[in-house]
């Protein structure tokens, strides 16, 4: 307590107090926040991609920021492991074919959007189910039911600079969905919209189909 009488001691003590109270506030706020993290959950279970350490996004200084997300694709396509995956990758052309294949029975092809709800509602592949692998409790039962009945499941997220689709694929594999029928569309919604393919805005089967994301 003697050090608390000196100016330096008082500041140190005050900083310690701020740290302790701040930490308590932070954990309490996370607990009550509807978007808070569940501390005990393993958000990256074994089998999901390791962190992509070289997710470099480089661009000239005068480039607009919103054009940069396309830049890492080339890098990430090289660094994202494709060997040893328990599912297959699929390209944009094949994804379009599957969407429009009229020979398949209804429900044979299931599209899963692995982005968060906000992004899903802004625009998704028509008929796709929303399934945020970081908040699986909400949509998982419904998605699991349709996936079990499906012959092929196409999962996508933003594009090759996100691994949420592989997270979703991992969760489906962990509950026994065969990897033989799981396809990950690496180009994701970014490539999809860049190719001027239709997107459905709002809820699934809302009927509001457009070619641009809101």
């Amino acid at each position: 307590m003697k050090t608390a009488r000196t100016p330096v001691g008082r500041v140190l003590l005050e900083a310690a107090l701020v740290a302790v109270v701040g930490a308590a506030f932070a954990f309490a706020a996370n607990r009550v926040s509807p978007r808070g993290l569940v501390l005990a959950r393993d958000y990256f279970p074994p089998g999901t991609n390791p962190p992509v350490r070289m997710a470099a996004i480089t661009a000239p200084a005068d480039s607009p920021t919103d054009t940069n997300p396309a830049a890492p694709s080339a890098v990430l396509r090289l660094t994202t492991p494709t060997e040893g995956l328990e599912w297959r990758l699929i390209d944009g052309d094949r994804t379009v074919q599957l969407l429009h294949d009229s020979h398949l029975r209804p429900g044979a092809i299931v599209f899963i959007d692995a982005r968060d709800e906000e992004a899903y509602l802004a625009g998704h592949i028509p008929g796709a189910y929303g399934f945020d692998p970081y908040h699986p409790d909400k949509d998982f039962p419904a998605v699991l039911t349709v996936c079990r009945a499906a012959e092929q499941i196409v999962i996508y997220c933003y594009g090759s600079n996100c691994d949420d689709s592989q997270m979703a694929a991992r969760l489906l594999r962990n509950v026994g969905i065969s990897g033989q029928k799981i396809f990950v569309y690496g180009g994701g919604i970014t490539e999809w919209t860049n190719n001027h393919q239709p997107v459905e805005i709002g809820a699934r089967n809302s009927g509001n189909v457009n070619i641009t994301i809101q």
């Binding site: 608390a4 100016p7 008082r10 500041v11 140190l12 003590l13 005050e14 900083a15 310690a16 107090l17 701020v18 740290a19 109270v21 701040g22 930490a23 506030f25 932070a26 954990f27 706020a29 996370n30 926040s33 978007r35 808070g36 993290l37 569940v38 501390l39 005990a40 959950r41 393993d42 958000y43 990256f44 962190p51 992509v52 350490r53 070289m54 997710a55 470099a56 996004i57 480089t58 661009a59 000239p60 200084a61 920021t65 940069n68 890098v75 968060d116 970081y134 908040h135």
Partner: protein
């Protein structure tokens, strides 16, 4: 020593200090809130640093940091425990600035580009940005924290010091 300063100079210093406190406080409220509203995104970005393999520790860091920043920002805005908060922010800023710098160097080496051309989302709350800008911003924040630690500019503070008795302002 500062008691011998002209009053206009003291007033200027005090005004600058109050503005610095509000600026730093507002910045941390904003940066903390943007992360706290998207905790999963922040978690993914924290994972990129490969700080720990322990899921609980990674979750705890990612869950607490944004709200902690928000808390510190609010303290500065209100003028509560200003010097202790400034020291806490300094202790946070130094390691995180070094981490961002380290990662930027890795990316620079991998891409063979100038350091200032490296741009990535460091999880700092501003989204993707060029690393030189981010490092400069952190240095400004560090400078402001050091200035606040000096203990001047107690105007508009609810409780500048938590420790009783509050030491008399040395510069006033």
């Amino acid at each position: 020593m500062t008691n011998h300063q002209p009053s206009w100079k003291r007033a200027g210093v005090n005004l600058f200090t109050v503005l610095a406190r509000w600026l730093l406080g507002a910045a941390f409220v904003y940066l903390g809130l943007t992360k706290a509203l998207h905790p999963v995104e922040f978690l993914k970005l924290m994972r990129q640093y490969d700080l720990t393999q322990d899921a609980l520790l990674l979750n705890a860091l990612s869950a607490a940091l944004p709200w902690f920043e928000l808390f510190c920002g609010l303290l500065l805005l209100a003028g509560v425990a200003v010097r202790g908060t400034a020291l806490t922010l300094m202790l946070m800023l130094v390691p995180f600035t070094l981490l961002v710098w380290h990662r930027a160097l890795l990316l620079q080496a991998a891409q063979h580009i100038p350091l200032c051309a490296v741009s990535f989302d460091c999880g700092c709350g501003n989204g993707q940005e060029f690393v030189c800008r981010k490092l400069s911003e952190n240095l400004v924040f560090l400078g402001l924290s050091v200035w606040l630690l000096w203990g001047r500019g107690r105007q508009f503070s609810l409780r500048f010091s938590l420790m009783k008795p509050p030491s008399p302002p040395s510069g006033l």
